[in-house]
Symmetry: C2
Amino acid sequence: MLNRFIKKLQDFGPLSVDDIAALERISAAYRRVPARTDLIREGDPPTHVIVVLEGWAQRYKILPNGTRQITAFLMPGDCCDLHVGMLAQMDHSIQTVTPARIATVPSPDMDGLLDRHRNIQKAMYRAQLTDEGTLRAWIVSMGRRTSIERVAHLMCELYLRASRIGLVLTTEFELPLSQIILADALGMTPVHINRVLKDLRSQAAMSVKRGSMVIVNPVLLAQIAGFDENYLHRRLRTPS
Amino acid sequence: MLNRFIKKLQDFGPLSVDDIAALERISAAYRRVPARTDLIREGDPPTHVIVVLEGWAQRYKILPNGTRQITAFLMPGDCCDLHVGMLAQMDHSIQTVTPARIATVPSPDMDGLLDRHRNIQKAMYRAQLTDEGTLRAWIVSMGRRTSIERVAHLMCELYLRASRIGLVLTTEFELPLSQIILADALGMTPVHINRVLKDLRSQAAMSVKRGSMVIVNPVLLAQIAGFDENYLHRRLRTPS
DNA sequence: CGGTCCGTTGAGTTTAATCAAGAAACGTGG
DNA sequence: CCACGTTTCTTGATTAAACTCAACGGACCG
């Protein structure tokens, strides 16, 4: 049974038995981490590549005025920048959202792996390009979408990403995100998020629990968001 | 006399004579492009890495409702994603802002260059990490900064980036950006940008010309923005 | 020299933030 | 297992920020 990291990379390109063995070696050592635990903090010198095997994490930054902006969610199989070891210090922090299983790969080991396994290298660069597209899509959302579109768009992104890694079992999908986290991800106040969610609930697009929410109708959300999934690079160039 | 691309890479790591010769070969063929010319459009299959040798360009995306969001500015020496050739199609467009000198490197050539020249590879990955930091900083700006802070923050970013590549000759710095471009970069309306600039002008932080603007007091802007330059990774790990 | 694009300003409207308060769920320790 | 404190969610009323609409002037271009 392959771990989420390996399974995700397989979606981005073919891997040989040897590639998979190398990935298994490198991600074999993992640790269990409680929710809301910083994996690395702004200012720390990064020495390891962080790989999320199970659970959710988030990249975030705290501003001088105390507010927080979340810049990305990491789902099972996702990892932080491959070449992060080149930096003198982190410019943001990464924290678990839920209890998680985390592998930390020493940067030199990751460099060696990329060098020796070209399939892995290609798959990882494809994954990274997708992440960058996501980053740009967030900018587009924050700049040019209304608050309800913005919420719906994030939901679509998360739903689609979750689908691809086999996390969506029915048409519905439960996210482990509180309204406070959503607010910090979308640049709004929790109060306003709450009102937007109320609206989406009344349209039967989603329902809300304490500390999490359920996407009931992703198609409707996509319509509200004006969602274009191209940015997630569903259609990568056929791997050669 | 080395071109801007090579000079920029030298800032990110030491290059040998051989490295430099290879970079010169690859960027020797360039073309002059007028302002407001699309270099590549959303939906196009990317086959070349775009390198800006002179002038400014921007990444942008047009939404279904016709609005535009700019997600990045490319300055002399900057290039688009190295591995862009892996994608089936672009999820955004890239356009010149000013008249520019552009080199387009076929993706396989770029791959070969990175393979054969590890110094170049390292320098480029460092540059790319910096770009990603910039992307995240934009998200933070859009989500959690007031409009005046947001404008001031972008000005600081651009001033600092321009300084590093030797584009700032006095303490002042002229940017070739219209208020419309600024508005589309910062997720505001041109009308509101105009009022914010008026405010910054009255504080003697900047002045404005038609189609461009001048940063008069970058220190004051940094103060207004709450600017933290760490995200631009001034202090990279000492190249080894 | 007429047209177009950009910048500027004012007035009115919309959107989202702020302030405030209470309810419901959760966690912990006795 | 219950009591208590804490966090999250919810709602209403008010304020602040930014957008929209509209109009006009100046600069640049052919």
